[in-house]
């Protein structure tokens, strides 16, 4: 399934660390060096204590699908459908929810509460987009 048809993100001061790390297959969010809270998307300020001292923080944990949708509509010419998109939360990282595509299972098998591993794939305009990987039921850690 090709995910390169689409509209690329504008990259700015706040979001550049995320998109650069994405190219390396790493998920970084915004960590507060004052209180330790994490937030996403990055705003250059801690959403918990409002400190301006923040730094990119990598998350490597397995995530859990909060909700999802399977898109069947060809919104752009040559868009390959259907594909599943998931909103993923991380039990050890409150304040972080990341949207991405889902690979590793049939789109219709995607479900709320399923476990996913962090991943990326080529997206529009040469960017890398979050593309979570389904963990088979009963799959190892």
């Amino acid at each position: 399934m090709d995910a390169t048809i689409g509209i690329p993100p504008a990259v700015n001061e706040e979001t550049e660390p995320f998109w650069t790390a994405a190219q390396q297959g790493r998920l970084v969010v915004e960590g507060c060096t004052a209180c330790g809270a994490e937030s996403f998307p990055p705003r250059g300020i801690c959403r918990s204590c409002r400190s301006r001292e923040t730094a990119p923080t990598e998350i490597t944990d397995r995530g859990v699908v909060y909700s999802l949708t399977v898109n069947h509509q060809r919104w752009l010419p040559d868009l390959e459908v259907p594909y599943a998109m998931v909103l993923v939360e991380f039990p050890g990282h409150p304040g972080v929810r990341v949207a991405g595509r889902l690979r590793g299972c049939d789109p219709e098998e995607a479900s709320i509460g399923m476990a996913v591993d962090i991943g990326f794939e080529p997206g529009p305009g040469g960017c890398a987009i979050p593309s979570f990987v389904a963990v088979p039921a009963g799959g190892g850690s």
């Binding site: 690329p8 909700s67 399977v70 898109n71 919104w75 752009l76 709320i112 987009i129």
Partner: protein
């Protein structure tokens, strides 16, 4: 009510006007705008020279979709030779069409404001060979859309779908239940000559319709349309000059939570902040509402508002609408009596809902008239940007 200044009671909705509405209307957005504005001013019992405030939603240059056809506020001002003492073109979302204008007339910044919304999304969809991608008017996705469009959430359908999925998961609500919202609204549209789709729709049709983005099917989506709606908001003390004003009993607009579709914390509960703020400004209660014009860009948005406004409890909307009787024209809460955006056409931002609420409260709603309608609820959008109001008969 305590010491709250319910300033909106110093404002009234004095006129509503609409252009021809259809899947495709072969006239410019500007001409449709003029049709609606002139009709609304006449409906108010006013002359164009009485108008001293202009507003449109959204403001110029903010179109994320082809077919946002408000035109340019200055060109409308020029064409109608109006001098304004107040104007507004919001770039971000808007709580309610009459919110800003009511603030303006309540504070004496203007006496009579006209606000319009013009869409040619029906024509745009036809030209694109289908409903276009959101944000496709721009080369890159900016702001909140930067997290959505690149992964393939290329339409509001995809962006709202996870809310419906989460809601149905949490509360065990089924598509068989939710079908009654579009099905009942289609029955209302059949009685409204302006509605875009008027042929009968059944639960079986709904369940057999193609999926757009699960669990949202074709009939859960509003209908791209061409048309303009204009609303005149006047200072309440001008009532003797007005043909048939309608009161604004209470209104509230709230921006809360996280302002991007994918970040809303609790996708099972939406719009409660705005509804709560609105109910705090009135002694009326949900049981006093005679007719509900609730925003329905998608079926699930009606669900949010039915629950947020307190017409039923959280998670109970499926049972509330099931069978359609309760939300029918002679039910306890007639819902989207003009067909809503699902069948009446996507006039957007509750402009169509507001126009219908005014017609209902005046007793001018024709075949969709609810008997003795004295209190109408109007809501807009949902999620991080939400507006709720009660309008009442003069």
């Amino acid at each position: 009510m305590g010491a709250t200044d319910v300033f909106e009671r110093r404002a009234v909705i004095s006129g509503v006007g609409q252009s021809e509405i259809g899947r495709q209307v072969d006239r410019s957005g500007f001409q449709l705008t003029l049709d609606a504005v002139l009709a609304a001013v006449e409906d108010a019992g006013l002359e164009i020279d009485d108008i001293d405030g202009l507003a449109m939603f959204p403001g110029g240059g903010t179109a994320n979709l082809p077919g946002y056809s408000n035109g340019n506020l200055y060109e409308v001002q020029d064409a109608l030779r109006i001098t304004t003492t107040w104007k507004q073109g919001l770039v971000e979302g808007m709580s309610l069409p009459f919110y800003g204008p009511a603030q303006a007339v309540a504070t004496g910044q203007a006496r009579h404001v006209v606000i319009w919304r013009t869409v040619k999304e029906g024509s745009a969809a036809r030209k694109a060979g289908g409903r276009p991608a959101y944000g496709s008017t721009k080369p890159v996705a900016e702001g909140p859309l930067a997290w959505l469009l690149p992964i393939g959430m290329l339409s509001p359908v995809c962006q709202v779908a996870p809310y419906a999925a989460r809601y149905m998961h949490e509360y065990g609500v089924t598509r068989e239940q939710l079908a009654w919202i579009p099905v009942t609204q289609r029955a209302h549209a059949a009685r409204n000559p302006r509605a875009v789709y008027r042929s009968p729709l059944t639960v079986e049709d709904y369940l057999g319709a193609r999926m757009i983005s699960t669990p949202i099917c074709l009939y859960d989506c509003d209908v791209p349309a061409d048309g303009a709606t204009a609303i005149v908001v006047s200072a309440a003390d001008t009532a003797p000059d007005l043909r048939a004003p309608v009161r604004i009993e209470a209104m509230a607009g709230v921006v809360e939570g996280r302002p991007s579709w994918e970040q809303w914390e609790d996708m099972g509960r939406v719009g409660h902040g705005a509804a709560q703020a609105m109910w705090a400004r009135t002694d009326l209660r949900p049981g006093d509402v005679d007719v509900a014009e609730l925003y329905d860009g998608f079926t699930i948005e009606c669900v949010w508002w039915l629950e947020a406004m307190g017409f039923c409890g959280t998670g109970e909307a499926g049972a509330f609408v099931e069978g359609g009787k309760r939300i029918g024209l002679d039910g306890e809460l007639p819902l989207n009596t003009w067909g809503g955006q699902l069948s009446g056409g996507r006039l957007h931002a509750s402009f169509g809902h507001t126009a219908e609420a005014v017609r209902q409260l005046r007793g001018e709603a024709g075949e969709t008239q609810v008997a003795d309608a004295e209190v109408a609820a109007v809501t807009n959008v949902g999620g991080f940007e939400a507006g709720a109001a009660l309008l009442t008969r003069w």
